[in-house]
């Protein structure tokens, strides 16, 4: 327990608690919601804070607190799914590219360069436009848009390790290609990828909310923060809290992910360095735009 706490403190307690809170709420959502998040009550629409509805109700009389809680679940599940898919596909492409090298590497990386030069949301929107809106199409679109950055990252780590003596000696010893790739190269790439993913999760959560805000992501009966916000916009004047609450929830979650990414990037720093060196490293990472 104390080891866990030490790790958490090194990463940063605020980040760990924020993300831990959202994960807990998301995981237990169906059992802790005070009301059914989809049940409507038109007689009680746009209500203010009350004991019955702690955070009020929306334009259809749905309980805002329950919808916020379910929204956390929707967002976290979607973020985790996309990161998992993008990590597998991108990691595989990148590792292969770095391992094989030569023409394959060149060709794959040019496509990756293109994917990185166009903002991911534009790529995702185009893919959704082709396949039509919907939850799984959104996941597919985001995966396609997110693969290039994971491919680039894992290629960089693999290309840096593949010519090191311990890999070359494996080759001399007669280890098979899959063995070298999956037992020795992939694990190295994985730690870099995981750090990147934790910071990236925030951007992904924002993109999911934006797509849903535009009506092209998560579809109605499911509760999602971006969608809650767009639903409430026409009633901005009479009940601004319906706009502010989901926006705030999303902002806090993204702050949590950003802090977590920053903390993990620092955590990977060489051991036993003082607060001053840690701060210097933070400034360095900041300047290079890594956090």
């Amino acid at each position: 327990m104390s080891t866990l706490f030490r790790i958490a403190r090194r990463i940063g307690l605020p980040a760990v608690f924020l993300i831990g809170f959202f994960v807990f709420v998301g995981a237990t959502a169906p059992w802790i919601v005070p009301h059914d998040p989809t049940s409507q009550d038109l007689m009680a629409s746009n209500e203010s804070f009350s004991l019955e509805h702690p955070l009020g109700t929306d334009h259809l009389g749905r309980d805002t607190m329950s919808r916020l809680i379910m929204g956390a679940r929707t967002t976290l599940v979607a973020v985790a799914t996309v990161i998992l898919f993008a990590m597998c596909v991108g990691g595989l492409i990148g590792t292969l590219s770095g391992y094989v090298g030569g023409l394959v590497d060149e060709a794959l990386m040019r496509f990756v360069d293109f994917g990185l030069s166009v903002p991911s949301m534009i790529v995702a929107l185009a893919v959704i436009g082709v396949f039509g809106p919907g939850y799984w199409n959104m996941i597919l679109a985001l995966t396609i848009a997110w693969v290039p950055s994971y491919a680039r990252l894992s290629r960089a780590t693999v290309a840096a390790t593949v010519h090191q003596p311990h890999i070359e000696s494996l080759w001399v010893l007669g280890a098979s290609h899959p063995r070298i790739i999956f037992r020795h190269l992939a694990p190295t790439a994985l730690s870099a990828i995981l750090v990147y993913a934790s910071a990236d999760a925030g951007v992904l959560a924002l993109t999911i909310a934006t797509l849903s805000f535009l009506g092209l992501g998560v579809q109605p009966p499911m509760a999602e923060w971006g969608q809650m916000l767009v639903d409430a916009l026409p009633y901005l004047e009479e009940s601004p809290r319906q706009v502010i609450l989901p926006g705030l929830a999303l902002t806090i979650m993204v702050i949590g992910f950003n802090l977590l990414g920053e903390g993990l990037a620092l955590y990977r720093a060489p051991r036993a360095i003082g607060a001053k060196a840690l701060e210097r490293r933070r400034q360095l990472l900041l300047r290079e735009g890594e956090i």
Partner: protein, 312 residues
């Protein structure tokens, strides 16, 4: 130097070719039923005959390379096809909508650069002061806020509570203020954060200590010695955030009913208008590739260090 520019140029051209392949493949090779969608949009009752007719008309049965060649040829000649939804030619529609988007991005970039440069200079003049801490907080919180939330808050503050600014439409400079703020504040805070860090390291150099010892004022050293040294950082950060601002336009334009390219793109995605999607995706991609290229060139010009070959 010229050789480097030449190399970057070839790289950018190659990316554009790949972009065209991607745009073509996305629309042409992925969904098996382009003809069906077109037929559905054309008449209420879809029969096999209509689908075949559409296939015939658009040449959808030809080999894929032939179709790519034909599409590329048409595009190069400026014929971007017709919108499947409205039947309007895509090229002129995109041109007409380019101006509002240009205004939005330009206004947003002005806001971002003003905030970015102004506040980082103020922060460097009084390190740890109010401005310094305020901008740092704004950068952290702002970067984590969804763009549509910022826009909604601005609309609420200036449109609903104060009732001083128009909250939608594209008529006259007063309607530009809110969208420009919505798109520019956060990039501004982020640029200022990066610039501030760079300024700080420039201000801790020995030559600054010497200048201070000689009695020069902090402000003068900052402007004369530190700023030229951090310019590459600013240009780079601006380049990155410029791309993000165009991306933000995708959500800002629909909110403010802005008749620009980005809202055209969103409409196309909503109605699965392949023709418009394909052309505007290609346009966006070319734009971003060119922006990257130009930023590279500017950095090459103002930062002599970058001109040296990397291996040396």
């Amino acid at each position: 130097m010229l050789k480097l520019v030449y190399k970057r140029f070839i790289g950018a051209m190659m990316l554009i070719v790949i972009a065209s392949v991607f745009c073509f493949l996305l629309i042409a090779a992925f969904p098996g039923n382009v003809a069906l969608v077109i037929a559905e949009q054309r008449s209420a009752t879809v029969s096999i005959e209509i689908v075949h007719q559409v296939e015939e008309e658009y040449g959808l049965k030809d080999p894929i390379l032939v179709r790519y060649g034909r599409w590329l040829g048409d595009t190069l000649r400026g014929d971007l096809g017709r919108s499947l939804r409205t039947g309007e030619p895509v090229g002129p529609a995109l041109l007409r909508r380019a101006a509002p988007t240009f205004v939005l991005i330009l206004a947003g970039a002005t806001v971002a650069l003003t905030i970015g440069l102004g506040f980082s200079l103020l922060g460097a003049l009084w390190p740890g002061g109010m401005v310094d801490r305020g901008v740092r907080a704004l950068a952290l919180v702002g970067a984590s806020m969804p763009k549509f939330f910022i826009a909604a808050l601005l609309v609420y503050a200036f449109g609903v509570l104060l009732k001083v600014l128009p909250t939608y439409g594209f008529d006259g400079p007063s309607s530009w203020i809110l969208p420009a703020l919505a798109i520019g504040i956060v990039p501004g805070a982020l640029i200022s954060r990066v610039t501030r860090v760079a300024l700080e390291s420039a201000m801790s150099r020995p030559y600054v200590t010497t200048a201070l010892a000689k009695g020069m004022s902090r402000g003068r050293i900052l402007v004369r010695d530190a700023v030229p040294n951090v310019l590459p950082v600013v240009v780079n950060a601006f380049g990155i955030h410029f791309a993000f601002m165009v991306q933000a336009a995708i959500v800002i334009e629909p909110i403010f009913a802005w008749p620009g390219v980005a809202s055209y793109f969103v409409e196309a995605a909503r109605f699965r208008d392949y023709q418009v999607l394909q052309s505007s995706l290609l346009l966006f991609s070319m734009f971003f590739i060119l922006v990257n290229f130009v930023v590279d060139l500017i950095v090459l010009t103002i930062d002599p260090k970058q001109r040296r070959p990397r291996s040396a």
